[in-house]
Symmetry: C2
Subunit: 288 residues, 2 copies
């Protein structure tokens, strides 16, 4: 099945996360079962990326959002590896700097949008400005509420310039988040990932869910859809995202560019070189 159908948040409808199952998965039974299929999708992604790069007429922007421990970094490490570092740029957006705060909220993300032929990945994004900014009342409601339109207009402008946009919301349950926090506590090699804010932010769980619902309802558009990825099972998350990226790139149907030279003329240059190499070889043979 095409996971775009399963995961799409349809444009123009009131979306509610609590109607989706974060533990959903399809007929695969687990990581071992799904891995060959994931590997096949990663390979497809790589093939399409080379075509995108050669064609240099369009670009791809992948946006990742999700609560702490939802797996954004995991996707970057294990799914986006299908897309190599050549012509791919991952931008991680953390707490804005003083300079960034002195500008409109799109100012810091715009420089990281993909050039023609390339892929850009936003690990967190401009959507933080309708999420953390809303939950922690960093700006008044009137301000974050008008940002939905500003975002839709911005993404529409990118799309008109040749950028295909895929937005993935990694959906985990509150119980799954706690399990992942436990795994960090129990593994000395991963304790550096622990932050006290993991727990203080968790107290705002319901506020975040409401903010996600509104973000998805307002900003899943035909030109930049939100896909809600059931992410309790990391293997299903990886499978769904890799397949959605690969299928989307397949649909883009990239074509090799036309030769910029007269191939007949170049073939003459080539044949002159072959003749020269043969003459040099003969000379070397006689000398030897």
């Amino acid at each position: 099945m095409d996971y775009r159908t399963l995961c799409l948040a349809p444009a123009g409808t009131a979306f509610r996360l609590d109607k989706r199952d974060p533990a959903a998965h399809n007929s695969f039974s687990g990581r071992a079962d799904a891995q060959p299929e994931i590997d096949a999708q990663l390979k497809r992604m790589g093939t399409f990326q080379e075509k995108l790069y050669a064609e240099k007429k369009r670009s791809l922007l992948i946006v990742l959002q999700g609560i702490d421990a939802a797996g954004k970094d995991g996707v970057c490490w294990h799914v986006l590896k299908g897309i190599g570092p050549q012509g791919c740029h991952v931008a991680a957006f953390k707490v804005p700097s003083e300079e960034e705060k002195a500008h409109d909220f799109l100012w810091r993300v715009h420089p990281h949008t993909p050039a023609l032929g390339t892929v850009a990945v936003f690990n967190r994004s401009h959507y933080e400005d309708v999420l953390v900014a809303r939950v922690h009342k960093l700006v008044p409601e009137a301000v974050w509420r008008q940002r939905y339109d500003v975002i839709n207009d911005f993404e529409r402008g990118l799309q008109l310039a040749g950028t295909t946009i895929l937005k993935f919301f990694l959906y985990i349950s509150k119980e799954e988040q706690l399990k992942r926090f436990a795994a960090r506590l129990d593994d000395p090699d991963r304790q550096w990932k622990i932050s006290a804010s993991d727990y203080t932010e968790r107290a705002y769980w319901d506020d975040y869910m409401a903010a996600y619902d509104d973000m998805i309802s307002h900003c899943s558009t035909p030109h930049a859809p939100w896909y809600v990825i059931p992410s309790n099972h990391k293997w299903f998350r990886d499978l769904a995202i890799s397949q959605i990226i690969a299928n989307t790139m397949d649909d883009m149907d990239m074509q090799p560019p036309q030769a910029t030279v007269d191939v007949v003329e170049i073939r003459k240059l080539y044949e002159a070189e072959v003749a020269k190499a043969a003459a040099d070889g003969e000379k070397a043979g006689k000398a030897g």
Copy 2:
């Protein structure tokens, strides 16, 4: 064997490419035979990259140089894929822009050096300024000649700031280049790669070889060695480069960072959350 030994250009010696065999390979017989070993090295690279990123105390700079069709892009697509796009930046340096030409030759490369925790790849590099600049007499000899010291000082400064530097020269024979040009001519999907300059540059082959010899002789240093990779066989090139990168990163012996929080205190927060989740569950159970 450790291919660093086979490929190293020793510091402080007069290096000559014509003493090396561009078709060299080791006991493997071909791509099919070597691929499992290449895949294993790519996997090691990925594991070490995650450690480098977590540690955030050091960085890695990989420089690729080689004549047209030597395989720089091939290495970016098929070897550097072992390093994912998260925390890896590939910078390709083409003909300098007017703005770039108005600055010292390191001005355009410096912004692309790797941040702590990350990898940067230069697909062509500041070495173009002692190669094409010399061969085509873009600057007087006195100017390009003093650049060797400027480069060594620059690379020394990067190393002191925590950057490990690996420089790969992809060495192919003149015959092999012609074979690769033929492959471009014969494949309609690759004709867009053909440039008339492929053939005009080939006329300067001996000048380029002399420029490479001098570049390697002057700039293979203990802190930033040049490795000369026999690249007629693409599979051996991929094997040698992936193994050298993986072994170098292994020697860096990255350590997970210390936790920045009091783990005992955090465990209390965790246990409070578990108790709360259990109480909520019981409540839900009674309600249900």
